[in-house]
């Protein structure tokens, strides 16, 4: 038997551990990049073909999408009384679609 919520809790904590590091890396690279202003050519010149960074951002988007959706699921259950297996599946779907948008953005930055 696996009570509802236990697996989602574990996913949220595992993604949190990755996001904790990823957010710091993300903010630090932005801070370094914006020194002296941004231009499109400069950004794309740096990012295109950087496969490792592309992989990092794909994983980042997946974790952020899932982490946020599980959080919204908990808030909806506790503050609005919206609970149930069907809703859990819906939230998971929303998380994956969100992650998909993030991956699309990463593709545009590194390959587009």
């Amino acid at each position: 038997m696996n009570p509802r919520g236990a697996k989602l809790w574990a996913i949220q904590r595992i993604t949190a551990a990755f996001l904790g590091l990823a957010v710091m890396v993300h903010l630090l690279t932005i801070m370094l990049a914006v020194r002296g202003g941004l231009s499109a050519a400069e950004i794309l010149g740096r990012t295109r073909g950087a496969e490792l960074w592309f992989g990092f951002y794909v994983l980042f988007a997946l974790c952020a999408g899932l982490h946020g959706a599980i959080g919204l699921r908990n808030i909806a259950g506790e503050w609005l009384g919206l609970r149930g297996r069907g809703l859990d599946a819906l939230w998971l779907g929303i998380g994956l679609v969100t992650a998909g948008f993030g991956m699309r953005a990463a593709w545009g930055l590194y390959h587009g």
Partner: protein, 243 residues
């Protein structure tokens, strides 16, 4: 000394209202003394609950100025300055029977749901073990159990917990504190079922570490850490395939 201004909830499950009382102030006076004075001298039909009057039985807990407390161990001076009104209400998160008396049944039903009773391990052949278990007092598990074992079931933590208010199925701090003491009891044989019972949305995974239970426990226990212990054990046991 000026009289104390007291407001008390009067009513049952169908409704009611706050009622004002005036009680002679004394040098040393607990909230329970005040409620008893009102019942004996002013409102003989006032319903409330108490037994020992000295902080041992855990039956006199009420909401005093928005905070769950043992009324027998709360001096009036601690909750209200001179001239300030003291508001007394029944414990939150429990059905009101009448006035200040709540029905504690849902609270104790959840102890049973969390498998809060000791289940001794059988000997390998299924009989009662012949030997006593040896539990060194300074072993890690014994100390974890010790940290939560003094709970007397007063319901203060349960009434202070927002998760209980948000999810009526949530087991609550006291039941899971009890479960954690048994998870650390090496003589107990029912932990696989107990860990299932405290898992998920109705169990430890809904706790958000607001630590209201730990903050309010009149015995200075730490149910929030006990619940964190359950999460930790469930996480590693599941990940490493131990359950």
């Amino acid at each position: 000394m000026a009289d104390l201004k007291i407001r008390i909830w009067r009513g049952d499950e169908t409704g009611g209202a706050m009622a004002d009382f005036s009680v002679p102030a004394r040098e040393n006076q607990t909230i329970l003394d005040v409620v008893t004075q009102i019942q004996r001298e002013q409102a003989p039909d006032l319903a409330y609950r108490f037994a020992c009057r000295v902080g041992m039985c855990g039956s006199c807990a009420m909401e005093v100025n928005g905070r769950a407390r043992w009324t027998c161990r709360t001096h009036v001076k601690r909750v209200a300055g001179p001239g300030e009104v003291v508001e007394i209400r029944p414990l939150a998160n429990l059905p009101v029977i009448r006035d200040l008396a709540t029905d504690m049944a849902p609270f104790f039903d959840k102890w049973a749901k969390a498998q809060g009773s000791f289940q001794p391990k059988d000997a390998p052949d299924g009989s009662v073990p012949a030997e006593f278990s040896v539990v060194p007092p300074n072993s890690k598990q014994r100390m974890e159990a010790d940290a939560g074992i003094e709970c007397i079931g007063c319901g203060v933590c349960y009434a202070s917990c927002d998760i209980v208010a948000w999810n009526p199925d949530y087991l609550g701090p006291a039941a899971m504190n009890r479960a954690w003491t048994l998870v650390n009891d090496v003589r107990d044989g029912a932990n696989p079922q107990r860990l299932d019972a405290v898992s998920g949305d109705a169990g430890c995974h809904s706790c958000h570490s607001t630590q209201s239970c730990t903050e309010r426990c009149p015995k200075n226990l730490d149910p929030s850490s006990a619940i964190a212990g359950l999460k930790r054990k469930l996480f590693w046991d599941s990940l490493l395939g131990r359950r």
